[in-house]
């Protein structure tokens, strides 16, 4: 009866933490698939904390022992008192022992909480770090196929789950198990018959728990599914509210919402009803075992088999017996979901990493930037080729414009060049060396990439630009900003370069965001420049200025540009017209115009009205 305090700890991020977590957790509420393997992996983390954990086990054992002896001692005191001997040593001795037991239990409870803190957090921290490390080394293809929400939930919910388990469930389970078996032994020693009577409720407890957990499991799953779809629906609604209103779809959405909401209500209600039965039922069983002790015990004292003190002890033991059983039953579920969570975390750790470069070459300082594609074929989804046997050769310092319809493979060319994907057929060479032979670090540093989606980090404008060149000075940053014409608008921001961009830069316009990403590429002074439709949503006046800057930047650099604007295209040294994953035409503007074929048609369609073709 001495460790009721556990639930008070603030570290308890247990069930009442709300659905937000559970919502995402619903998919891992299922039973873990490979418990053994997962546990052995978890065990590896535990093992590194061996010393403290061994010490902790000793503390738990001492705690349980003092808990076990106290009811026994209470019984002894009562028996002594019962003999009306007054304050003799027969009363005093067990009473002092009891006092000692209680004090030791107090210290042990404190030590348990104190000792588990550091190692448990260290373990969680390690797992998180390992996961992060692993994820960094996964290929882009992995991120194509996974939703960020799911990954996110592995980082937060699943690891959180493991954390809670490590801190609480472990000690609870061990001490619960010890208390139950210890109580059983003590009771048997005191009176086997009364033990049998008291334990007659145990099978009922067992069956009840099993019945309830079986009932609830499917309801919980329904509830989490409903919650998942409710989440999705709200997310879409909030995201697309303007369109929804513009198309007057409020009623439609409300209807969908009501359906999901009702499902959630029914599943949640059922789940809660059965779960809610558990606690009062336990309580009732506790009372029943009281009744049994009173009746049977009373009869036994009456017949002289036992003393009154034994009844007092039994009442306390029966409490101790039922409560941990209850706890084990409930922690078992937590444990199961934690193992499932751990499994999801380790699953990521088992993903195949990017192939590390075997030769691990560095790109030399005097690299030229000669790029060659030799019979390159590639598909994102097996069976649907995006690039078919593409070959080309780019001399150092040349500007290449990639044009073609959406889906013709322009973006894929630059994706492969940036080594986002490794699993293509054919060879890609940089200065005559296979791309895979370079080390990633060095390769990454030599590419300046401005992607279609300008992605900015929650940080200052300064740091977002300096991102392209770690350790950049403020002169570097301002220079890059000026070069990409971002300086003037940045200076107009409230805090200038120290303005903190909110989530993904929502406080900037699309164009301004792109200017910053351009500056980020500019500051890196890369060997090869890749511009993927980077300027398409910057307005044309700004674009003109960017173009000037880009021209400066591109001079002497091999550049690949995916652009729609004629002026950009005309300025390039060579134009590749892509069609269905193949290069349909190749040449400079004049050559291709003279060819009077695909490129010619395209340009005419776009510009004939201006009479400038």
């Amino acid at each position: 009866m001495s460790d009721f305090g556990k639930k008070l700890q603030p570290g308890n991020r247990g069930n009442d933490h709300g659905f937000g977590r559970m919502a995402k957790r619903f998919s891992n509420r299922e039973k873990p698939r490979n418990i053994k393997e997962t546990l052995s992996k978890l065990w590896n983390y535990y093992r590194e904390e061996k010393k403290i954990l061994i010490f902790l086990s000793v503390v738990i054992v001492l705690h349980v022992i003092s808990t076990l002896f106290s009811p026994f001692l209470i019984g002894r005191v009562i028996d002594a008192v019962d003999m009306k001997k007054g304050m003799t040593s027969q009363v005093l001795r067990p009473l002092l022992f009891l006092l000692f037991c209680y004090i030791s239990a107090t210290v042990m409870i404190w030590l348990e909480g104190y000792l588990i803190a550091v190692p448990s957090q260290r373990i969680v921290k390690k797992i998180r770090m390992h996961l992060f490390d692993r994820v960094s080394r996964l290929p882009v293809r992995f991120f194509d196929t996974r939703s960020h929400g799911d990954l996110m939930s592995r980082f937060s919910n699943d690891i959180d789950n493991i954390s809670t388990t490590i801190t609480q469930t472990t000690t609870e389970l061990i001490s619960g198990f010890l208390t139950v078996s210890g109580s059983f032994v003590m009771m048997t020693v005191l009176s086997p018959l009364l033990t049998l009577g008291t334990l007659s409720v145990a099978p009922v407890v067992f069956l009840l728990t099993r019945f309830i957990s079986r009932k609830t499991r499917s309801y919980y799953r329904d509830q989490q599914t409903a919650l998942g779809s409710l989440n999705g629906l709200v997310e879409e609604t909030v995201d697309g509210l303007s369109l929804l209103k513009a198309f007057g779809q409020e009623e439609n959405l409300l209807g969908q919402f009501t359906t999901v909401n009702s499902k959630l209500y029914i599943a949640g209600r059922n789940a809660q009803f059965f779960t809610g039965l558990l606690m009062p039922m336990m309580n009732v069983l506790n009372n029943l075992s009281f009744a049994v002790i009173g009746l049977l015990g009373g009869f036994m004292v009456f017949s002289g088999y036992i003393t009154v003190g034994v009844i007092a002890s039994f009442i306390n033991y029966s409490r101790q017996f039922v409560r941990p059983l209850n706890e084990i039953a409930s922690t078992w579920n937590t444990l199961q979901s934690a193992v499932a969570g751990a499994e999801r975390v380790f699953e990521i750790m088992n993903e195949t990493e990017e192939i590390p470069s075997v030769k691990n070459r560095n790109i030399p300082d005097n690299a030229e930037g000669r790029v060659e594609f030799k019979n390159v074929s590639f598909s994102y989804i097996p069976g649907i080729p995006v690039l078919k046997d593409v070959s080309f050769h780019v001399e150092p310092g040349k500007k290449i414009a990639l044009v073609g319809e959406t889906g013709s493979g322009k973006t894929t060319v630059v994706n492969l060049l940036s080594r986002f994907y490794d699993d293509y057929n054919g060879d890609i060479l940089l200065d005559g060396v296979l791309l895979q032979d370079y080390n990633r670090q060095s390769l990454g540093n030599s590419f300046g990439i401005v992607l279609q989606d300008s992605y900015l980090f929650t940080d200052t404008v300064f740091n977002n630009i300096a991102y392209g060149k770690p350790g950049a000075s403020s002169d570097d940053v301002i220079e890059a900003a000026e070069l990409s014409n971002a300086h003037s608008f940045i200076s107009h921001l409230e805090n200038g370069y120290e303005t903190i961009l909110t989530d993904g830069g929502t406080n900037l316009s699309q164009g301004e965001k792109q200017l910053i990403t351009i500056a980020r590429a500019v500051i890196a002074k890369p060997l090869i420049l890749i511009l993927d439709e980077a300027t398409s949503s910057v307005d044309t006046r700004t674009e003109k200025k960017i173009q000037d800057a880009m021209l400066k930047l591109m001079s002497g650099r091999t550049s690949f540009i995916i652009a729609h604007r004629l002026s950009t295209i005309k300025d390039s040294d060579e134009i590749y017209v892509l069609e269905n994953g193949e290069i349909a035409e190749k040449g400079n503007h004049e050559e291709l115009m003279a060819l009077k074929h695909k490129y010619y048609n395209m340009v005419r369609q776009q510009y004939e009205k201006f009479d400038i073709v």
């Binding site: 460790d3 009721f4 639930k7 008070l8 603030p10 009442d16 709300g18 919502a23 106290s70 209470i74 008192v81 107090t106 409870i109 404190w110 909480g113 803190a117 550091v118 448990s120 998180r128 770090m129 992060f132 991120f143 996110m152 937060s156 409710l230 989440n231 709200v234 879409e236 995201d239 697309g240 303007s242 198309f247 919402f257 209500y265 809660q272 039965l277 009062p280 309580n283 009744a291 009746l295 009373g298 009869f299 306390n316 073609g404 959406t406 986002f420 670090q441 990439i449 992607l451 279609q452 991102y467 770690p470 316009s509 980020r520 398409s536 949503s537 006046r541 173009q547 510009y607 201006f610």
Partner: protein, 571 residues
């Protein structure tokens, strides 16, 4: 909290019934130790077997009666709390659907999400808890005191010492725990935010190969979180042991005192045992009350966050006598100025007029206010100054329905919703037949794609249209707008991801449609505007020119500059 009680009131009958059952349940718990003491003091002591059996069966009946109450109470509390959760969720969703854009700007999407899920769940749990343990705990606590007083007043003073001690322990626990807990939560939020960013920006990170920087950031936040959690766990470890200790000391004391009192016969042995049980019961009650405080604070915070949404005032009201009519499509702005909230004006004294069936092109720098013009035409916002007329009638006089039914909007960032292509298209017109669907998708140049997909119109679109390319999404959005055959078609930079051939095909298809729509076309490409009847050039939130292509080339410097930069030619 007012919110919670408001909802409880709506279920007051079931709620009070649940409380009644709860009280009965508590009473049963309280009676047990006393009956047990009767068995010992009257039955065993006096050697009367029939009393043992009588009181023993009392105990049994009380247990069963308690069980019945517990089950009924559980049934009711579950229904009431979940029903309330259901209602709050629905009310909140309705509210969000009715939000004006101004309201929307006040909440970011993620908060609304957590409010409608976690916050409501927390409130729901709290209400459920009210009918479960929360009110039972004080009953148990008070009950145990009453029973002890009945059994033996001489021991009552132990409670007088125990209660203040426990109150102090719990309050110190709360006072110390909350700041610690919220600091841990903050650290966790920070780490989560970092992780989200890491995952979203993975391509950029790979492109710049900046893993070392990212790792350092992550490591720092991770270590901080671990350290904070460990520290607070260490500090908090003391409280449970203190609480247990004080209760246990009370038990020792009771035993010690009874040794004297039993000797003098002023107390029975059964009373002592009962007393010990009451103290333990009292401890249980204290523990639960401590948890109630935690839950209460959390539920209070959640209910405030829910109320914020539910009490949001929507200034954008439909006019009292809304105009319902078929719109022809004449649009006029006269002297319109507009700002988002209290910020600087994004539009200054804009005036223009488009006749029904004409095309208005709008061109200008990023952030110059082009999209704001559209937000005003569709009445997502009301202007600060000036008038906006459609067919000569101010927009705010139209009913929302008739205004928006006549406008086909293709937004800059097009959202497609989870569902099939058909379901998404039918937003434009619910009861459209297959010919209409075909025609709209043909005009938007997405017909071939749909036909070539194995599932055709039934092709499923993933959340946010993940399985479609940017161009395909835009074309579907155009088809969706065309399907409603609107009087006014608004294209907000909506072909930016469509290649030039396709864009031209779409444009000529639009031109050849039977009914001439008024088209408002926002674009960055001059060549898209060349046929427009009127072009509005926006520069720095002011109108820099209004006219057609030819006249603007002559009269408007800004326009000429744009033209030259795009074509690389002198105009």
């Amino acid at each position: 909290m007012k919110l919670i009680f408001g909802y409880i009131k709506s279920c007051w009958l079931l709620f009070s019934l649940a409380l009644l059952f709860l009280s009965m349940e508590a009473l049963c718990d309280i009676l047990q130790p006393t009956v047990l003491s009767y068995i010992i003091d009257f039955g065993i002591k006096n050697g009367e077997m029939d009393k043992i059996i009588r009181y023993g069966s009392w105990m049994f009946y009380i247990s069963v009666f308690g069980a019945l109450n517990a089950v009924s109470r559980n049934y009711l509390s579950t229904i009431v709390s979940y029903k309330i959760g259901y209602r709050i969720r629905e009310d909140m969703f309705r509210k969000i659907l009715g939000f004006s854009f101004e309201n929307m700007d006040g909440f970011d999407g993620a908060t609304l999400m957590t409010r409608i899920t976690s916050d409501i769940t927390i409130v729901q749990h709290f209400i459920n808890g009210l009918m479960r343990v929360f009110l039972k705990a004080p009953l148990l606590g008070i009950g145990s005191i009453v029973m002890v007083a009945r059994l033996n007043r001489g021991l009552l003073w132990i409670y007088a010492v125990l209660i203040p001690v426990i109150v102090i322990i719990i309050s110190v626990n709360m006072a110390v725990g909350y700041p610690l807990f919220s600091r841990v939560q903050q650290a966790l939020d920070r780490l989560n935010k970092l992780t989200r960013e890491f995952l979203n920006g993975i391509r950029v990170i790979k492109a710049f190969n900046s893993f070392r920087y990212e790792k350092e950031r992550f490591d720092k936040a991770n270590s901080y979180l671990a350290a904070k959690t460990a520290t607070s766990m260490k500090i908090m470890a003391i409280f449970p042991s203190m609480l247990t200790f004080s209760i246990n000391m009370a038990i020792v004391f009771v035993l010690y005192k009874s040794a004297f009192q039993i000797e003098t016969g002023s107390i029975g042995i059964g009373t002592t045992i009962a007393f010990i049980n009451y103290i333990i019961q009292f401890l249980f009650a204290c523990m639960i009350i401590a948890r109630v405080f935690t839950m209460f604070v959390r539920a209070k915070a959640s209910s405030v966050r829910i109320s914020e949404v539910l009490n949001t005032f929507n200034r954008m009201k439909e006019s009292i006598h809304p105009v319902n009519r078929i719109i022809k499509g004449e649009i006029e702005f006269s002297g319109v100025s507009f700002s988002y909230g209290s910020g600087e004006n994004v539009l200054n004294r804009i005036s223009f007029r488009v006749n029904a069936g004409e095309t208005l092109g709008i061109i200008g720098a990023t952030g110059s206010g082009k999209t704001s013009i559209i937000n005003l035409i569709t009445r997502f916002y009301d202007p600060d100054e000036g008038k906006i007329l459609i067919d000569g009638i101010p927009v705010h006089e139209y009913s929302f329905e008739s205004l928006r039914k006549n406008i086909g909007l293709v937004a800059q960032k097009n959202k497609l919703f989870t569902g099939t292509i058909e379901e998404n298209l039918r937003w434009g017109k619910e009861n459209a037949d297959i010919c209409e669907l075909d025609k709209a998708s043909e005009d938007a140049c997405i017909y071939d794609y749909i036909r070539n997909s194995p599932e055709g119109y039934k092709t499923l679109i993933g959340r946010g249209g993940v399985n479609l390319s940017g161009g395909q999404k835009q074309r579907l959005a155009i088809a969706r707008a065309l399907l409603r055959n609107p009087a006014v078609l608004i294209l907000d930079d909506s072909t930016s991801a469509v290649d030039i051939f396709t864009e031209n095909r779409i444009r000529s298809a639009l031109k050849n449609r039977k009914n001439r729509m008024t088209t408002v076309l926002i674009t960055q490409r001059v060549h898209s505007l060349i046929d427009a009847d009127k072009i509005l050039v926006i520069d720095n939130c002011y109108a820099a020119g209004l006219g057609n292509h030819k006249s603007l080339l002559k009269s408007c410097t800004v326009y000429r500059e744009i033209f030259e930069s795009q074509t690389g030619e002198r105009g």
